[in-house]
Amino acid sequence: MATKKTTKKTAKKTAKKTAKKTPSKKSTAKRSRSVSVERDKVTSSKIVKMVEGVAKSSLAQTDPFLDIPVRSVSNMKFNTRKRILEMGENTQRRTLFNVGQARKFMQGVLLSKGCKELIEADKTLSLRGMYYMSLHTIEGTNEKTFNDQGESDGILEDLEVTLNGLREELHVFAKKRGTMVGNITIKDNGDEINCRKMGTGGYAIPSICEPDVIEFEKCEADFVLHVEKDTVWSRFNEDRFWEEHNCILTEGSGQPPRGVRRLLHRLNKELGLPIYCLLDCDPWGHYIYSVIKQGSINLAFESQRMAVPDAKFIGIRSDDYDRCDLSTDVRIALNDRDIARANQIADYPWFLDRKPWQKEIRTMLANGFKMEVESLITKDISYVTEVYVPERLKKKDFLD
């Protein structure tokens, strides 16, 4: 009972304090509309230019081609100044008159047409919808333009990098994933959403979190706590953690999708909120942190708009086993893949110059086991929300 009172108090306090933080330029739906129209024009002309290139080289009797930036580790570099991953200059030429590439070439061109139609109709489609939109049987054959959605998804990512435009700009979105709750009010496509009153389910973070769709209205929160998955998030929500600590609580169902990352980026950049991550103590948890912080390898071209270089890692950490005096039952032995992945992560340039991280990974490998956030439940059901995270926040004890 006592704790409940205090949470209410603090909530009130912070509410006043953070009122200032509300974005100064209060964007209206109308304004974002015009922004998006401008943006659509640019995207549309990019598509036309690309297809024109294909048509012109066809008429000139040269092999039509698309230069597609390479999306792999080899073409990715770490910008040490900005501390984000960036895509390199390498492109791969995809030509029509190459048996291995002809089909992909055709698919790319076909999807670009689909995107242009979407932009003109001012509608958006899911990845799956996009697949169906461009799906048909090629005239005179019994071959389909796409065999499955996976094929079209990959080509769409190629198209994004080729046009240097985000999926959102192409009017395509992914399945939504991730949840938010906390001291913030937003406008989602014009609808006001009060994230303080989201019940047990929370606000489902949409796939597209661009300013023209999601606008921040009123935010009193001091920081964002991002947890790895839904189960942990529910614990925090039920304990009204965000209320007591005046924060925003998000989760990304494992590796956070683009929408969640874009939202975190904007909360950090536009509202100046620090991002704290509570993830598992295993290589996969470490990599989630890395993706949030520096961007992912596959989507390196989007790091600029997604990465949160000053995101902090709260835990859980390998020394928590001794520090919190956890039972031996929570230990999960590292397997060979875990060990290999851990070593790989330790060698990433953005971890390489971080001594605490090197120590963390070494300790985990020395321990020989990993731990999930849920392991703290063995201490007490609300140990993580009432003791573990508050202590870390108070001491500002983070890994960076």
């Binding site: 048509a55 066809s58 008429l59 029509l96 089909r103 047409k113 005179g140």
Partner: protein, 605 residues
């Protein structure tokens, strides 16, 4: 003991036994051991009869310089009784020889000479007559006409106990002239027990294969169902006549040598060696005699009389021959079928798309010259599921039995067909639409048995076979690789063409440019990029740009319109292969003949 002696007294005494010991005639021996000659069962008996008669007919025609035209008729009298008639247009047989040729075993012109011919021992046709007599009691009927003489009609039986012919009827028959429009020829009719069955090892198969190996011969065959099949000529010239040669010293066994020495009518050793053997001149003869002299206690000089020499000297001479290097026997005594004729033969009887032939240079086994030829047919209408078919020939005679015992079969199996793009199970026959023809020409073909069914496995022979097979295989490999390359190109084009439509549509929709124009431009480009797919052919049927060295190869024929399309999607415009192309003008002539064969109908009499 005396008791035992008296008991044994009941058994034969040496004198009694002597009374029962007498000559066994060759005919009697073969009557009891008919399987040795290929009369093991009714079905095989029928085939062997046709085979022996046709072989003789072909040999006779060729020796007489006549293009053979042979009629084979099987008339079924009852379930298991047949009347076999073989008629040829050969030179005919003079009257007094008829009974010897048809009524006496081991009588013939071919046994005592070293000459390439079909028959060898002179037992075939008379054994067939004997078999007929034994199973039906009916004599053999022979009608023969020589040039400018009336035809004789003779029926004869063979007296098995004496190996002597017995003439039953004998008359001149002007009536028979109608059988011989050319004024000469022979017709044999044997009534016999037999069984007719189509398929493998049948008379049909034998005639078909004989037609392949003897494209200069014309066959007309009437089967028991009264259907007439014709096998017209593939070439209009007779094969060159084979020359007779003397035995080579290296091919002679000691016993044979002694026999030859005994048979020699006088003279000295030098002239004996020079006259009786090939490749022995005066110098080689004295070298042999000198070497032999050191090997015996008796003296042996070039002037020693041949009929004074005994066993010792003979053995010394034999050993000297083995040690001395003697020039290989002359090989101009061999008449191969020839690559052209083999291709012509295969072309008219086997429906493939690719044909290739190889004739090896002559070689020698045990002093006998021989020559190996191989031809292969691939693809077309041949079955691709089964193992390759091997057609074996010895001196142009098809061998239908005991395939696995034959040297040629082993040679096919030990050739690595995988290298040439065919699948081949381990230690097995290659699998695919392949027919392999192997011919061995020799003055003496080493058969594994008297029924002449399989070629004995000499290393020299098998090696030559393998080399010839490899030569053909290599060409097949080149062809198959080229074919798959062209196919791949066509596939490539179809891949491009499939997407060109989509792309030009998008171009029109997005940019507003003319989609049709873009489509046309892209299609032009696709055609250019996959140019090999439709290598154009000029009116001579030659590729305008030389694509491969197979095109100028006289020993290769490719029938483009026979190529089977396994993948129907391959060419949308049907232009992968256009028209028929043959490697050479002569091959084109042969093509015409295949067409004429197609016209051949199976008339019902």
């Amino acid at each position: 003991m005396p008791k035992a002696a008296s008991k044994s007294g009941k058994r034969a005494t040496a004198e009694e036994m002597a009374s029962r010991q007498r000559d066994i005639s060759v005919s009697e021996f073969f009557a009891k051991n008919r399987h040795l000659l290929g009369f093991d069962n009714p079905r095989k008996a029928l085939l062997t009869t046709v085979k022996e008669a046709v072989d003789n007919a072909l040999d006779a025609c060729e020796e007489g310089g006549i293009l053979p035209e042979i009629h084979v008729t099987l008339l079924q009298l009852s379930e298991s009784r047949f009347k076999v008639t073989i008629r040829d247009n050969g030179p005919g047989i003079v009257r007094k020889q008829i009974e010897n040729i048809f009524g006496k075993l081991l009588y013939g012109s071919k046994f005592h000479r070293m000459k390439m011919s079909r028959g060898q021992q002179g037992i075939g046709i008379s054994a067939a007559g004997m078999y007929g007599l034994m199973t039906t009691g009916k004599p053999v009927k022979i009608i023969s006409k020589t040039k400018n003489k009336p035809a004789h009609e003779v029926t004869l039986k063979i007296d098995t106990s004496k190996n002597k012919p017995e003439v039953v009827t004998d008359r001149e028959s002007s009536n028979a002239d109608k059988y011989f429009p050319e004024g000469h020829g022979t017709m044999v009719t044997i009534e016999m027990e037999g069984r007719y069955q189509k398929g493998k090892q049948s008379v049909d198969e034998y005639l078909e294969q004989t037609a392949i190996a003897n494209p200069h011969a014309w066959f007309v065959y009437v089967n028991p169902a009264n259907e007439t099949m014709e096998f017209p000529r593939g070439v209009d010239e007779l094969p060159e006549e084979a020359r007779e040669i003397k035995p080579h010293p290296k091919g002679i066994e000691l016993g044979t040598l002694i026999q030859m020495m005994e048979r020699a009518d006088g003279g000295n050793v030098t002239s004996f060696l020079q006259n009786e053997f090939s490749r022995v001149g005066q110098r080689k003869a004295s070298e042999l005699i000198q070497t032999a002299d050191k090997k015996t206690s008796k003296t042996l000089t070039p002037r020693s009389r041949i009929n004074t020499l005994g066993h010792d000297e003979a053995e010394a001479l034999y050993n000297a021959i083995q040690e001395t290097s003697i020039m290989a026997p002359p090989t101009d005594c061999l008449v191969p079928i020839g690559s052209r004729a083999m291709l012509a033969g295969l072309l008219k009887e086997v429906k493939g798309e690719f044909y290739s032939a190889a004739t090896r240079p002559p070689s020698v086994y045990r002093g006998n010259p021989f020559q190996i030829e191989v031809a292969i047919a691939y693809g077309g209408k041949l079955s691709s599921e089964e193992s390759a078919r091997v057609l074996r020939f010895a001196n142009r005679v098809p061998l239908l039995y005991q395939q696995s015992a034959c040297s040629s079969f082993k040679a096919v199996m030990e050739t690595s067909w995988k290298n040439y793009g065919l699948s081949q199970p381990r230690n097995g026959m290659p699998v695919g639409p392949l027919v392999v023809l192997i011919h061995m020409a020799s003055v003496w073909v080493p058969f594994t048995s008297e029924s002449k069914e399989a070629i004995a496995d000499y290393d020299e022979i098998r090696k030559e076979m393998r080399l010839a097979l490899q030569e053909c295989g290599r060409k097949l490999g080149i062809y198959l690789r080229r074919r798959s390359r062209m196919k791949k190109e066509a596939e490539r084009r179809s891949v491009f063409e499939r997407y060109i439509g989509e792309i030009s549509k998008v171009c029109e929709a997005v940019t507003g440019m003319d989609g049709k124009e873009i489509y046309k431009a892209l299609q032009e480009q696709a055609a250019r990029k996959t140019a090999e797919a439709d290598t154009r052919l000029d009116e001579d049927g030659k590729v305008v740009e030389p694509v491969s060295r197979l095109d100028d190869d006289e020993q290769v024929i490719i029938l483009r319109d026979a190529i089977t399309e396994t993948d129907e999607e391959t060419n949308d415009d049907g232009s992968l292969f256009e028209g028929t192309r043959l490697a050479s003008p002569s091959a084109r002539a042969k093509k015409k003949q295949t067409k004429s064969r197609k016209k051949t109908t199976r008339k019902v009499r």
